[in-house]
């Protein structure tokens, strides 16, 4: 990443203080120290992961001697069953994100583009729901799912427990609030003339929503979609609560069990942790702008 100070940057830097660029040396020292501290935990994981356990046993973990290779990653991937966990994450994340965005766009359209009585009340209810600590509703949800009897061809537990659907449903319900809030603000900012024109042309509500408003919301969907993929991929709690079979856990919840699987082989544990970082890192590098936009969209109104 190259960052070159443009002429305007330099001009701004000297604009109101009149001091020389020298002023920034102190800033750089603070930032460098903090950046190194920030990278230490991640760097240590990566460093440990790259060393075979034989080297670390012989030379100790705090050393530079011995071989470096990717063997731990291969072993951790196979022993840890990562392919299965990643697949589970996909099964949970993809439908949750699509459902969340679709349902919240319906709700956001109704509360922002049509004026009727309970607009604000519903929007408040949706926003508040997203702010609750999940543990507040854990017990009743668990019991509701446990006492809902389902045919065995549908769920081998005979209930909603231990199914992907339980996690998808609750993830979706929890995230709809936040997305509705963000999307409704976004839709409110679109000119009312747009739907007026469509209305005059005889377009019904659905046409206004699907053909007029939705295409204009693409930037918001890109940002929210990226954010929600990360949020739901990173969700630890709901699968922990609902899924009992280890082989159905998504990767974020499964790492909790890795310590047991890898016993006290820290090299493998570090490799496992690093593997789990990779998808978020890829998304971050590819879609950093979308992710940041999503986070700040949510706070732009307060």
């Amino acid at each position: 990443m190259t960052v070159v100070a443009t002429p305007t940057d330099l001009a701004r830097g000297t604009e109101y203080s009149g001091s020389r660029p020298k002023r920034h040396y102190g800033t750089h020292v603070i930032l460098l120290v903090l950046a190194v501290m920030w990278l230490l935990p991640l760097g240590w994981s990566l460093y440990t992961a790259l060393r075979p356990v034989e080297s670390t046993n012989q030379y100790g973990y705090f050393s530079v001697a011995g071989a470096f290779n990717f063997d731990n990653f291969v072993t951790a991937w196979n022993q840890g069953g990562f392919s299965k966990y990643f697949w589970n994450s996909v099964i949970i994340t993809v439908p949750s994100v699509i459902l969340t965005l679709f349902l919240s766009s319906l709700m956001a359209f109704a509360v922002s583009r049509v004026s009727w009585k309970f607009n604000i009340t519903l929007l408040i209810m949706f926003t508040a729901g997203n702010l609750l600590p999940p543990q507040v509703l854990a017990a009743p949800l668990f019991q509701m799912f446990k006492h809902l009897n389902l045919p065995y061809w549908f769920s081998d537990s005979g209930t909603l427990l231990n199914t992907y659907i339980s996690v998808i449903a609750v993830d979706t319900a929890f995230q709809i609030g936040f997305c509705t809030f963000v999307l409704s603000n976004y839709m409110k900012a679109l000119s009312p003339d747009l739907t007026e024109a469509a209305l005059v042309d005889g377009a019904g509500i659905w046409r206004q929503y699907w053909s007029v408003i939705m295409p204009l919301c693409r930037p918001a969907f890109a940002a929210l979609g990226t954010l929600e993929v990360i949020f739901i991929y990173n969700d630890f709690f709901w699968p922990l609560l609902f899924i009992q079979s280890g082989d159905r856990l998504p990767v974020t919840t499964a790492i909790n069990n890795l310590q047991g699987v890898f016993l006290s082989n820290y090299n493998l544990l570090a490799a496992g942790a690093t593997i789990t970082v990779i998808p978020t890192l890829v998304i971050y590098l590819l879609l950093q702008r979308q992710f940041v936009a999503g986070l700040t969209l949510g706070s732009s109104k307060g």
Binding site: V114, T127, Q135, T172, T252, Y266, T280, Y284
Partner: protein
């Protein structure tokens, strides 16, 4: 301001039906999976139940609350830890994030690289943060004890295992993630401050500190409110890190973790778990209501 004539034509029957469905489906999902369970939590907190048969639910009055407050040993430590969590995030993590934002807002070289570094932990799940810091804090092989020169000696500290220090170790790990988030929000906030305000302050002879605290910081009021709310809610939601470390026991008790300890595993005491959940709910409603009145207060009056 006259309302924009939205109702050029009254909605047709079909449009009403479409709208009803558009609102009904998300609302129903929200009610069934969020608000009904919340009400059930309150209800169950006044009962005694082992979670097996619905007909076994017995009314218990306020006895669960009495038990939690008087006879349940981890409760008060958990309350203290939640308060500590809040204070630490508010006094250390959030100001650190603000500091980073202010430093990075001055158009220095490498600003984007620094931002990426400080922001990276925000992308990680709190569970993963717990695992990564466990490797860092580990007693015999962790980097921290090597850096302190205590590794392998009797004086080596098991940072996550020692109940005297583990809450602080967990808070440092939580700060690692929270500060980056706060930095990001304040960077957006600082960009939104009108530069002419700073110039005016400089013309009036204010130094950099005065300009920041008297002019720039107050101008970021909307972001400040969001950050206050996020900080409080994060401290109430804290769960994943301590659960990954030791399931929220031995020095790491938090109300959220106690809720779960009472719900899963043998001898489920749904009533006690629900009483704890209700306590957590009541505390959470304070920042939530504050935020909602700030955000929707004006609109609610208009409509």
């Amino acid at each position: 301001m006259p309302t924009i004539p939205r109702k050029v034509r009254r909605l047709s029957k079909r449009d009403r039906l479409v709208l009803t469905v558009m609102v009904a489906i998300p609302t129903l999902i929200q009610l069934v999976f969020v608000w009904l369970p919340t009400l059930f939590s309150i209800g169950l907190s006044f009962t005694r139940w082992n979670g097996l048969d619905l007909t076994d639910i017995r009314p218990a009055g306020a006895s669960n609350y009495q038990f939690v407050a008087q006879e349940y040993p981890p409760f008060w430590p958990a309350v203290q830890h939640n308060v500590l969590w809040l204070v630490f995030l508010a006094v250390v993590a959030t100001p650190l994030g603000l500091l980073l934002a202010v430093l990075l807002d001055q158009n220095i070289r490498g600003s984007r690289l620094y931002q990426s570094i400080f922001f990276a932990p925000v992308m990680l799940s709190l569970a993963l943060v717990g695992v990564i810091w466990q490797l860092f804090y580990q007693r015999d092989h962790g980097l921290l004890n090597f850096l302190l020169g205590t590794a392998g000696q009797p004086s080596a500290v098991d940072w996550f295992g020692d109940s005297n220090v583990n809450i602080w170790a967990a808070l440092v790990a939580a700060t690692w993630r929270h500060a980056g988030y706060v930095m990001l929000l304040y960077l957006a906030g600082l960009k939104g401050v009108d530069p002419s305000l700073k110039e005016a302050a400089a013309l009036d002879g204010a130094n950099a500190g005065q300009t920041f605290f008297r002019v720039v910081f107050p101008a970021m009021r909307p972001i400040n409110i969001v950050i206050v709310v996020i900080t409080i809610i994060e401290s109430l939601r804290a769960f994943d890190i301590v659960y990954v470390i030791n399931r929220g026991t031995n020095g790491l008790e938090l109300i959220s973790a106690l809720v779960i300890q009472n719900l899963v595993g043998e001898g489920q005491v749904i009533g006690v778990g629900s009483a704890l959940a209700t306590i957590l709910l009541v505390i959470s409603l304070v920042p939530i209501v504050f935020y909602l009145t700030r955000t929707f207060g004006k609109e609610a009056k208009e409509s």
